[in-house]
């Protein structure tokens, strides 16, 4: 069953607006949860949370350390598993123990980015740019196909 969301209209300088593919999601860790707006980003290899959101979920520093490289340069990260829930009306999709990378920098561009690993592995995602809608269908392949493979 599919879930669709309208793009979010946001202001730009010069009396212009832009429509962005943002959706409501709930992150849960143990008994803590935060429902927030996340952007769906097919250009991001990883699913990312800001340090502020991670702290709200009680994620202590001490996860698996790593780095991410973006337009702003290289940033340090720590990885934690969290539970993700996406729902609309009676449709509810859970992604349990989804690994997210927490940015250790203090000024992220976005506080929650749903990137390819592992978010896109769970859904078939359609960006309806002209209708300004995003449609998520739970993938029949589940989490079986990672975008990362060992080179032959």
């Amino acid at each position: 069953m599919s879930i669709s969301f309208s793009y979010r209209k946001e202001g730009l300088h010069g009396n212009r607006v832009i429509y962005r593919p943002k959706i409501p999601v709930t992150f849960r860790k143990y008994k803590k949860e935060v429902s927030l707006i996340a952007i769906i980003d097919s250009g991001s290899d990883a699913t990312i949370l800001s340090k502020e959101v991670a702290e709200q979920l009680g994620l202590a520093i001490g996860g698996k350390k790593g780095t991410l490289e973006g337009i702003g340069g290289v940033v340090e990260t720590v990885e934690f598993p969290v539970n993700l829930v996406i729902s609309k009306k009676r449709v509810k999709e859970h992604i349990p123990q989804m690994p997210v990378k927490v940015l250790l920098s203090d000024s992220p561009v976005e506080d929650a980015i749903l990137g390819r690993i592992p978010f896109f592995s769970n859904f078939d995602i359609t960006f309806k740019e002209n209708a300004r809608k995003i449609v998520l269908n739970k993938s029949v392949h589940g989490r079986g196909r990672s975008p990362i493979e060992i080179a032959a």
Binding site: F5, S6, Y7, R8, K9, E10, G11, L12, H13, I18, I23, P24, T26, E33, V34, S35, L36, I37, I39, D41, G43, S44, E52, V53, E55, Q56, G70, I71, S87, K88, K89, V109, E110, D111, I113
Partner: protein, 69 residues
Amino acid sequence: MPNPTLDSDFEWYTSADLGKYIGKWVAISNRRVIASNQKLKHLMENVEREHPGIRPLVTRVPEKVLKAI
């Protein structure tokens, strides 16, 4: 516990003018902003204190710029 107003709050959010909150976190419940703060931690503390039992939809209102993430 699920947030019973999440769908409605997101629908409202998609076209809401949040220009006066740029750079701040906002908490949305029942199609309105019920709290705002520079820090998410303080926002959630405010919501717990002023609106006990409410599980808001939260977001940081971005600057009016084009982004390359």
